[in-house]
């Protein structure tokens, strides 16, 4: 993505696409969470992104970093559970780290720092069957200059890889070995968000 396309992103279209995706997959996310969590992830994410959608005009009027911070704050306040602060931190930290006019490299660097903020918030790391298991591979693909479509494919594959993992963070870790064999709902959510974003921003993203 060039610097030009990045500043021209239609934020409102992006918010709509992401909220649509989350709404369309809310039941699936909840089903995943029922298997290894407390069964509210889909509903929580949907509530959060519907709240973001309700403020879309206001958010889209802001510069990108400020808009991302506003989205993050909204998610923290509305998603609830442990996902609110984790997804909220991702967006808030990305907004904080993003230069005013980011190019692709600048975006990938800021995204990397935002992932570190999520890891710190969740006191988690790669391989613990969490959203991080999709975030890190997505960031690596960005750094490698992979196309948008391939990044989305990488995200799906990374989410799939959480299936055989044993959870060692979050509610699913209470299940121990019984968490094996189920996809992590947070990982699936990240993959869905990534796909919605790249499909909206365009294949050259």
């Amino acid at each position: 993505m060039s610097a030009e396309t990045m500043t021209q992103i239609d934020l409102k279209a992006l918010i709509t696409a992401v909220a649509d995706t989350v709404a369309a997959h809310a039941e699936e996310l909840t089903a995943l969470d029922q298997a290894i969590g407390d069964g509210d992830h889909g509903l929580n994410m949907k509530r959060g992104f519907e709240a973001v959608r309700a403020d879309a005009d206001q958010i889209a009027a802001k510069p990108l970093p400020e808009a991302l911070k506003a989205i993050g704050t909204k998610l923290v306040m509305t998603v609830g559970g442990a996902s609110g602060p984790l997804f909220g931190t991702l967006f808030m930290a990305l907004g904080k780290e993003l230069p005013a006019e980011p190019d692709t490299g600048g975006f990938a660097t800021a995204f990397g720092k935002a992932i570190e903020a999520v890891a710190a918030r969740g006191k988690s790391q790669l391989g613990q069957k969490t959203m991080l298991d999709v975030l890190y591979p997505v960031q690596a693909a960005m750094v490698a200059g992979t196309s948008g479509v391939e990044i989305a494919i990488a995200a799906d594959a990374a989410a799939e890889k959480t299936v055989p993992m044993k959870a060692s963070r979050g509610r699913a870790s209470f299940l121990g070995d019984r968490s094996i064999g189920h996809m992590d709902p947070g990982a699936r959510s990240v993959a869905l968000l990534v796909r919605a974003v790249v499909e909206t921003v365009g294949e050259d993203a």
């Binding site: 407390d38 306040m77 559970g81 442990a82 602060p85 509610r171």
Partner: protein
């Protein structure tokens, strides 16, 4: 009030309220106290906005000690403290202690006019090292 405030954050509003009830009955009214629990929709969970509200309610210039139950309560409390920001954030500590015993012991210490550091240390003594 100049005593350190106590905030109780549980996934269950019943646990949070019950813990606060124990503090009031066992320690008295000399400590600013607030509790929150539940996801706001009637289910179990914790909520950043509610935690921020509880910190406001129990606010003291001497500081606030937060007692939490499971992981999400801690994550959400950390987020709430961060969103409250400085200078108040420097006077808020999330205790590593069992929620009920920690709240009662921390409040007991606070009711005697102890500093935030002393209140937190008392709660932490309850946790196995």
């Amino acid at each position: 009030m100049s005593n350190v405030g106590i905030v109780i954050v549980s996934h269950s509003p019943l646990v949070a309220e019950g813990t606060a009830d124990m503090v009031r009955q066992m320690v008295g009214n000399e400590v600013p106290l607030a509790w929150c629990g539940g996801n706001g929709q009637g289910g179990l969970g914790t909520n950043v906005e509610a935690i921020m509200g509880a910190i406001d309610t129990a606010w003291s210039e001497a500081g606030v000690a937060i007692l939490v139950d499971l992981g999400g309560a801690e994550t959400n409390s950390e987020m709430a403290v961060e969103m409250i920001g400085e200078p108040r954030a420097a006077k808020i500590v999330i205790c590593n202690a069992p929620i009920v015993e920690g709240a009662v012991m921390a409040a007991t210490e606070a009711s005697g006019g102890a500093s935030l550091r002393e209140v937190v240390a008392t709660a932490h003594e309850l946790s196995p090292a």
